[in-house]
């Protein structure tokens, strides 16, 4: 659906005295039916990439085509479901009127706008906010309104920039259900987020950007599977300390502030053998889980320790 060829974006100050490269030489294909995550530290170029995809910015070099069209031409014809990183909706609008407006602009037929808005208000838990102005909403409710307007029409291209920012845990969980419901073969969904756990749960592929470069692409199928032969870090929890622990895992480190939890490192099969020995010796294992996911490992490897 979307082809990026050598895509680069450089910001210049008005007089050209200051030049900031934001994206550098991205070549990539994004297909319908995919959920693609975009991760990277602050300033990695995530929002610039989304702005280029929506035609808000023009590339400095390279090409970007959506079904063969320039992004702006495609968006003006078909529209996209877009949630901006900072939800900016005029504060004096009421919540239902904001949704009616965006649904109208998005091309929902006039006879179906009211029905669609009611469904969005219910679906995003905004029905109780119906009497409020946008400026009166809490951060979480504003974020939900932003999500609702993004999904006002049945767009085949959905772009969500930090979608769970400001959402409480319940709505963060519900957001995952929303994305799962949005999945369909004709739709491409892009999610930019700092939340790697969220991307790992939702995305088929995650693009890791760093300083404007596409450092790596992590595919979700393998996201939870550590590579064979690679040392991984796991957390091990025991119901009670057991003398067999020191034999099974000589290098185990107690986790600060977590009684009964240890950090163990090694190749995954070796760790499994150690756990089996522990259980065989009568220890009660209450938890054995990776310290970080494959995506987190890949992310750290790609961007290093960014401060």
């Amino acid at each position: 659906m979307i082809e990026l060829q050598g895509l680069s974006k450089t910001y210049r100050s008005l007089l050209g005295t200051r030049v900031v490269p934001a994206l550098d030489d991205l070549t990539l294909t994004l297909a319908r039916g995919e959920v693609v995550g975009v991760a990277g530290p602050n300033g990695a170029g995530k929002t610039t990439l989304l702005s280029l995809l929506l035609g808000y910015l023009s590339p400095s070099r390279g090409t970007l085509r959506i079904e063969g069209f320039a992004p702006r031409a495609w968006i003006e014809q078909h529209g996209a479901g877009y949630l901006a990183e900072l939800v900016a909706i005029p504060g004096h609008w009421s919540v239902p009127s904001a949704l009616r407006r965006y649904a109208t602009l998005a091309g929902v037929p006039p006879g179906r706008v009211a029905e669609r808005v009611d469904a969005l208000l219910d679906g995003f838990g905004l029905a109780e906010q119906g009497g409020k102005r946008v400026r009166e909403l809490s951060k979480g409710n504003l974020q939900r309104l932003g999500l609702a307007q993004a999904l006002a029409a049945d767009s085949d291209f959905v772009v969500l920039d930090e979608p769970t920012h400001g959402l409480d845990p319940i709505w963060t969980q519900r957001f995952r259900d929303v994305v799962r419901d949005l999945r369909r073969p004709s739709r491409l969904i892009l999610i930019a987020s700092h939340n790697l756990d969220e991307l790992e749960r939702l995305a088929d592929r995650v693009l890791i950007l760093h300083q404007g470069r596409l450092e790596r692409i992590v595919t979700a199928g393998a996201a939870g599977t550590p590579l064979p032969g690679v040392e991984v870090a796991y957390r091990l929890a025991l119901a009670a300390p057991h003398p067999a622990l020191a034999r099974a895992f000589p290098g185990a480190e107690a986790v600060d502030g977590r009684a009964g939890e240890w950090r163990i490192r090694g190749e995954l099969t070796a760790l499994n053998r150690g756990v089996a020995d522990l259980i065989g010796a009568g220890a009660v294992v209450t938890a054995f889980a990776p310290e970080e996911s494959r995506l987190e490992s890949e992310f750290r490897a790609a961007v290093g320790d960014v401060r």
Binding site: R18, Y56, A88, L105, G107
Partner: protein, 236 residues
Amino acid sequence: MRLPTRYAGWMAWDLAAGPGIPMAVLTVLAALLTSRIEVAGPMGDAARAACAVILDWTAIGLTLLVTGGLVSADFAMGHQRTLFAKPVSPPLYYLQRWLLGGLAVLLGAAIVGQVIAARFAVPLLGLTFLLRLALLYLAVGGLVFLLSTVTRRDWLLAVVLLAWQTAIGLARSMGLTEGPIGMVLDALLPPMPLLHLSDPAPAGPELAHALGYGAAVLLAALAVLRWRPLARGARA
């Protein structure tokens, strides 16, 4: 191409609830002022001339109110990011808003014009009035529209430019001549002497000048909206 006409009702509502309020206040004040001017006696002609000036500046004031921030307010608040992910063209969206603003200016100016026409028993309103008002809105409203696509201080800049132009006009009427920079600036500003609402209908070169100027600034505004970034590269 998808026209944004489906959104015209909401735009009209926003106009009425936003700039429509100060526009109504200005219209009422101008109508009150003109209704209280003495029309008979030795000051009759001067009163008529004063009313004509009030009418002109009311129309200009209404134009500034309705076109100031037309584009820049959305961009300053970041509203454009959500708007233009929808299937809508930015130039057509703002052109529609500008045209609706023109209707509001017409309404306000027609009310003041009607008060003046009734006071002086002159047939002020008619095709000539409409043509003059359309030219004034095209030129002044088009200029502010253009400024609004490039700066947040569009209305302030427009006020400064119009004040400059008024000062130049006064200087000219006192026999003073402007320098080369003034002449260039003058050429870039609306041809105000051609835009008095109570004058006879413009024709020939005057009409071509006013129309050409207005069309140029309007097309320039639409061209900027076609090509300007819809998001900022905040880091440069």
